[in-house]
Assembly symmetry: C2
Amino acid sequence: MRLSTKGQYAVRAMVDLAYYSKDKPVTLQEIADREEISINYLEQLFAKLRRNRIVSSVRGPGGGYLLANRADKISIGDIIDAVEESLTPVACAEGDVGCGRIDKCVTFKLWKGLGDRIKDFLSSITVQDLCDDAGRMFKDQDIKTGSRKCAA
Amino acid sequence: MRLSTKGQYAVRAMVDLAYYSKDKPVTLQEIADREEISINYLEQLFAKLRRNRIVSSVRGPGGGYLLANRADKISIGDIIDAVEESLTPVACAEGDVGCGRIDKCVTFKLWKGLGDRIKDFLSSITVQDLCDDAGRMFKDQDIKTGSRKCAA
DNA sequence: CATAATCCGACTATTTTTGTCAAGTATTTT
DNA sequence: AAAATACTTGACAAAAATAGTCGGATTATG
Ligand code: FES
Ligand code: FES
């Protein structure tokens, strides 16, 4: 039940972005430096985030990324959803219907329930919440939301 | 955030076992046939389950596996714990302490919270619960807790 | 135009997962 | 004691997922 680094990095990058993009776009390079994540890898993640309208991009010099919404309107669940395939613990409990045989499936309810708990929890926490934490933790220093080794 | 098939299969096998082992041991071959899981793979899983005292084994002709406790004392969390390494979403939120730098880690609380929710939920459901469901679903037919393709 | 930035797609190395296989050990029945 | 049954162990391997890289195209600025 591990979250892939895709999801972990995306959350960290989003918190970083929210923290530093008061008005101007933030470049991936900056985020990559602060968070010690490969810029090429970040590109992949932000491409997905952009396609899912979590962030918007500005091309050219002075460009970068911006939040597409207010930080308190973006939940962690939104981010994970955008970069991972799924938060569902098993494949055939995807969506509400599951695979064709759920009326004969003893475990469907179990995995569906678990998936719902996970989604509920991650939807209840917003980027703003983590930003506030970060502000308290780092005061005037540069923030860094996790460490490369810990990947959290 | 997918559960590996190890965990999924182990849960299914345990429900099957609980359902059929009223007093006599159940052989892996039977479970493998009913649940369409490779017997060799099941052996690996049951070895771990036995080491964690989730099941006990009886050797020799007429032997097989038995639950080591009452079905309503075995939670799904116990099973997953026995065969998977961990239910923690990220590596350094393992345990309560996390890695060395949690006082500077913006995301620790988040992942810790998620892991706790997952554990709580899976601990709240027992093998007996699923057995009851199975009984209702299958009445007098042989049960089959999931399908090989769906792996749930 | 030169430069700074995003955007796009293909590619690869590593690790994890998901099994399989074979030889051996223990137990009970006959 | 022999045979049958079943568990034990450890090595091995194919396949999938993950993590990360690379080269180049596109767009906007100055
Ligand atoms: S707890 Fe280790 S970096 Fe967050
Ligand atoms: S929902 Fe598909 S086998 Fe359970």
